[in-house]
């Protein structure tokens, strides 16, 4: 390749750094030559799950997030076991302890934190460890085989998880805590007391309000002495007294450091071209110690580095869950009672449940749950959104009414025989059983195993909540598979890039060269690849009929009895008395089962026999309405200026013009438009892929609406003054969508994925790009043929496709 890529160096092969790289690879895979340095000898793994490794429910192998091959595949140079010792921010070079060095254009520091090892006398003795990485975890696993008495200093999240792990490994464990309450940074005293009682029941011992003064023993620890003169014998000590951002490298290199490495809202440090993410960073005075913020930071940083417009990072609302089986604890936002806050509290000592919601005025600012955490996601959302307290929320949460539960929390309470997937008739019980029996971890696996979610996809959120419910945090940390279907591990972007780079031209070739697991693919990937080929090589690609869905192959919608629905075009929803008559005559002659007005303002002729299709088309002698296609379906219009007393623009005229301009072109998914003459919006543009609203001075263009499985209201893309500008904008937007969307991805999902700002930057703000996109789409449009007449012309083809062989 002739292009020189910019050099991106990442220090710290942990969760924040690699997450940022993953985003970058998605947004702009070609932009950077990437080099990663990590002190640890492993590829990237899920640090959160060390608690499960300790507890015994996961192995080290299970928690690897990105294998060596991942780095290879993305051409990332990885130096493990290599610690960077200095950064020359002038020359832009980093130096490592083993003599390696690397120049950068762009540097990301993601060095995480170090556990705080209390500097009490004796802390260097053998048998004292922190709980941070795989090697700490290995030490604990080994120690448990030889020793019996363990002490964990610190009764926070990490300390309790370590303690429970050691207990499971057969050790006798005492948790030593400086405060009167466990997890005092997340829980209030009531919840904390319930937690302590439960953990004691499970077998942990606690020494509260104890300050460690000394660790005594010979070479190895033998016990602890506390400031109040008491002692505890112990031959192993885990320090989980907190973490400290790992900033030594940054501060030694002259980068501004307070508690963490100081960054702005785009993760930029005080040094040019140097960024920091994750636990090592300090943003608006806050250093975080959980993964949620680092994912948000990573997303912002990646966009920043790829030149994609992004909202600034404004901090993260934290919430906590304890990963100890049988103990459900959750807290978010403000959790301690304060005089200015209103507290709603429910404590149930019999069921061992505790619920608390904190309000500032009417606004929900925090919550604590113990015992039953099924409301956690909703509380988190309320706090995040600053929702106002209502009677309904109160009734729901405090259990006085409680019917209107959200999907997320409903799953726990659902009866086993309740149907989750209405399309395929799959119950909660059978999904839960399938997850457990076959150790399923992804929605795709559940799909393959039970069939749930395979049709309309409407139940997929519930399926994913069920996974979460069965797997707990293991699912939250779960990475989603990237492959577009079971036939390949490659993502959409990888496939498109390979088609371009290797100049692949047929579906067969793509599947062969990219080593599909199944040589002829499936009903997911074949149409997708066929689409991508057509999109990339609009002139050269010959459409492959056998990779089209039946509807598209037949240019009509198949019904469940094997007959078809024929829908002629009615531009802008307008027809003429002559055409109406012709439609009626054809309907009578071919005995269609029903004539129906559709939601998109046209007429369905339902129940045409397959072999009659060519005859029906011929007699109708109208263009195909594309009711079957991944293409522009209809442009719904209101009455508009021509007749409506409110209309300020000619919505019908514009609707017809748009439909005539953009019909027939293949798209990633079906595509609908609407045009309204004034803001009264009679044609319902807010649920269309493109919805246009006329006003006195011109047009407003809304995009990304959907009224289907996942309803979504369209967002404003731009306002334009002239008709010409509008048509150009529609063309540019549509072409950009064609080029960048995943196959079957509706604009609603696509707009959410890319962000409206990024789309604006491309098609609205960048005039040259807009013109180029518009020219491109016009060029493709010029090549297209009306499919019904084309099929009629190719007589041979149509007889093969439509006629059966009669045995007589």
């Amino acid at each position: 390749m002739g292009i020189t890529r910019q050099k991106l160096v990442l220090i710290g092969n942990g969760m924040a750094g690699i997450n940022t790289l993953e985003h970058i690879l998605k947004l702009s895979p070609e932009q950077y030559d990437i080099t990663v340095f990590g002190s640890e000898p492993h590829p990237n793994y899920n640090r959160i799950m060390l608690s499960y490794v300790l507890e015994g429910s996961k192995t080290m192998d299970d928690i690897i997030l990105n294998s060596w091959t991942w780095y290879e595949e993305h051409q990332i140079t990885l130096h493990t076991g290599t610690t960077i010792t200095s950064i020359d921010t002038q020359q832009k070079i980093v130096f490592a302890d083993n003599g390696l060095f690397a120049a950068y254009d762009c540097l990301i520091i993601a060095t995480g934190s170090n556990p705080i090892i209390l500097p009490v006398p004796g802390h260097q003795k053998q048998g004292v460890v922190g709980f941070r990485d795989i090697s700490d975890c290995s030490v604990m696993l080994e120690t448990a085989k030889q020793y019996r008495n363990a002490a964990v200093i610190g009764g926070g999240l990490l300390g309790l998880e370590a303690a429970k792990g050691l207990l499971n490994l057969g050790m006798n464990v005492t948790v030593i805590h400086l405060m009167a309450d466990l997890m005092e940074r997340q829980l209030d005293p009531s919840a904390s007391a319930m937690l302590k009682a439960e953990l004691e029941r499970q077998g942990l011992h606690f020494l509260m309000e104890k300050q460690t003064a000394e660790i005594y023993g010979g070479e190895r620890v033998e016990g602890l002495a506390f400031s109040d003169g008491t002692k505890l014998e112990s031959d192993f000590i885990v320090m989980a007294a907190g973490i400290r951002p790992n900033t030594a490298l940054a501060s030694a290199s002259g980068i501004e450091v307070k508690r963490g490495i100081v960054v702005d809202d785009y993760m930029q440090t005080s040094a040019e071209g140097v960024y920091a993410v994750g636990e090592c960073a300090e943003h608006r005075g806050v250093c975080y110690g959980l993964v949620a913020p680092l994912f948000e930071q990573g997303a912002v940083l990646a966009k920043q580095l790829c030149g994609v417009q992004t909202k600034p990072y404004e901090g993260t609302q934290l919430s906590t869950k304890l990963k100890i089986s049988g103990v459900d604890v959750f807290s978010t936002g403000v959790f301690l009672d304060q005089p200015e806050l209103t507290v709603i509290r429910k404590q149930d000592d019999w069921k061992q449940q505790y619920k608390k919601l904190l309000l500032k005025g009417d606004t929900i600012v925090g919550g604590v749950l113990y015992g039953d955490v099924s409301d956690s996601s909703r509380i988190q959302q309320w706090v995040r959104e600053g929702a106002a307290m209502t009677d309904a929320i109160y009734a729901e949460l405090m259990g006085t009414a409680g019917t209107a539960l959200s999907a997320a929390d409903r799953v726990a309470q659902m009866a086993d025989d309740e149907i989750v997937c209405g399309c395929n008739g799959v119950s909660k019980g059978s999904i839960v059983k399938a997850i457990k029996d076959n150790s399923l971890t992804t929605v795709d696996e559940v799909k393959a195993c039970t069939g749930a979610g395979r049709s309309c996809g409407g139940c997929v959120p519930t399926v994913s909540h069920l996974l979460q419910y069965v797997l707990g945090d293991e699912y939250a940390g779960q990475k989603t598979k990237t492959g577009i279907c079971g036939c390949t591990d490659l993502s959409r972007d990888e496939i498109v890039a390979a088609i371009k780079e290797k100049h692949l031209t047929t579906v067969k070739e793509v599947m062969h060269v990219l080593e599909w697991h199944q040589s002829e693919g499936c009903s997911k990937c074949r149409p997708a690849v066929n689409y991508y080929l057509g999109m990339l090589w609009p002139q050269a690609h010959e459409d492959e009929k056998d990779s089209r869905f039946v509807n598209e192959r037949m240019n009509a919608n198949i019904q469940k009895d094997g007959t078809y629905t024929v829908v002629p075009r009615m531009y802008g929803g307008v027809t003429t008395p002559e055409d109406l008559k012709k439609i009626a005559d054809v309907a009578v002659k071919y005995e269609v089962k029903m004539v129906k007005v559709t939601g998109g303002q046209r007429l369905d002729l339902i129940g045409v026999a397959k072999e009659d299709l060519p005859l029906v088309w011929k007699e109708l002698d109208m263009p195909s309405g594309y009711a079957y296609a991944k293409a522009l379906r209809t442009v719904k219009t209101c009455v508009g200026q021509q007749f409506c007393r409110f209309g300020t623009q000619d919505s019908i005229g514009m609707g017809i013009r748009l439909e005539k301009t953009f019909e027939r072109i293949d798209m990633p998914a079906k595509f609908k438009m609407a045009v309204n003459g004034c803001p009264r919006n009679c044609a319902e543009s807010c649920t269309k892929d493109i919805g246009i609203v006329g006003n006195d001075g011109g047009w407003e263009m809304f995009v990304g609406g959907n009224g289907g499985i996942k309803p979504r209201i369209a967002e404003l893309l731009c306002k334009v003054k002239t008709d010409e500008e509008l048509v150009q904008m529609v063309g540019a937007f549509t072409q950009y969508y064609r080029l960048t969307a995943n196959y079957l991805e509706r604009t609603s999902e696509w707009v959410e994925r890319l962000g409206i700002e990024a789309i604006k930057a491309e098609v609205v703000d960048n005039m040259d790009r807009r013109r180029e996109l518009y020219q491109d789409i016009l060029a493709v449009l010029a090549e297209l043929q009306e499919p019904w007449s084309a099929a009629l012309e190719e007589q041979g083809e149509s007889s093969y496709l439509f006629e059966a062989i009669q045995l007589k």
Binding site: S547, F549, I805
Partner: protein, 122 residues
């Protein structure tokens, strides 16, 4: 189904090889009955009832052919062409028929009963 192979079969010509294109189903109609013939990429021909075993029925002829399977056009079930066996997670079975190829001619094997019914029609 396989038992039919062992019985006495009558073979009727249903067409020549060029009537059947790769990865596209062709419907053979005898009286009320519809049989579909698929030709896979490697040239093998298969005949099955043109009816999905899904409880809501529907034809199979328009399904996408991948390897030696057809993907049901209406419900996306995966069905083995040689045995008619529906693949997990779905269950069911489509009746299959033997085919014989002599030179260019493609012949469909029917039981006496099936063929007799046909004769009556004539």
């Amino acid at each position: 189904m396989t038992t039919q192979v062992n019985k006495d079969l009558t073979y009727i010509k249903i067409g020549t090889l060029e009537d059947f294109r790769e990865r596209m189903g062709r419907v053979i109609r005898l009286n009320e009955k519809e049989i579909v013939v698929f030709r896979t990429t490697d040239g093998t021909l298969y005949a099955l009832d043109n009816r999905s075993p899904h409880r809501r029925g529907g034809p199979l002829a328009e399904g996408m052919v991948s390897g030696h399977f057809v993907l049901d056009p209406l419900y996306d079930w995966k069905i083995a062409l040689d045995t008619g066996q529906v693949q997990a997670p779905d269950t069911g079975m489509v009746p299959t028929y033997p085919l014989k190829i002599e030179g260019e001619d493609v012949q469909l094997g029917l039981t006496l009963e099936q063929a007799g019914q046909l004769a009556l029609e004539r």
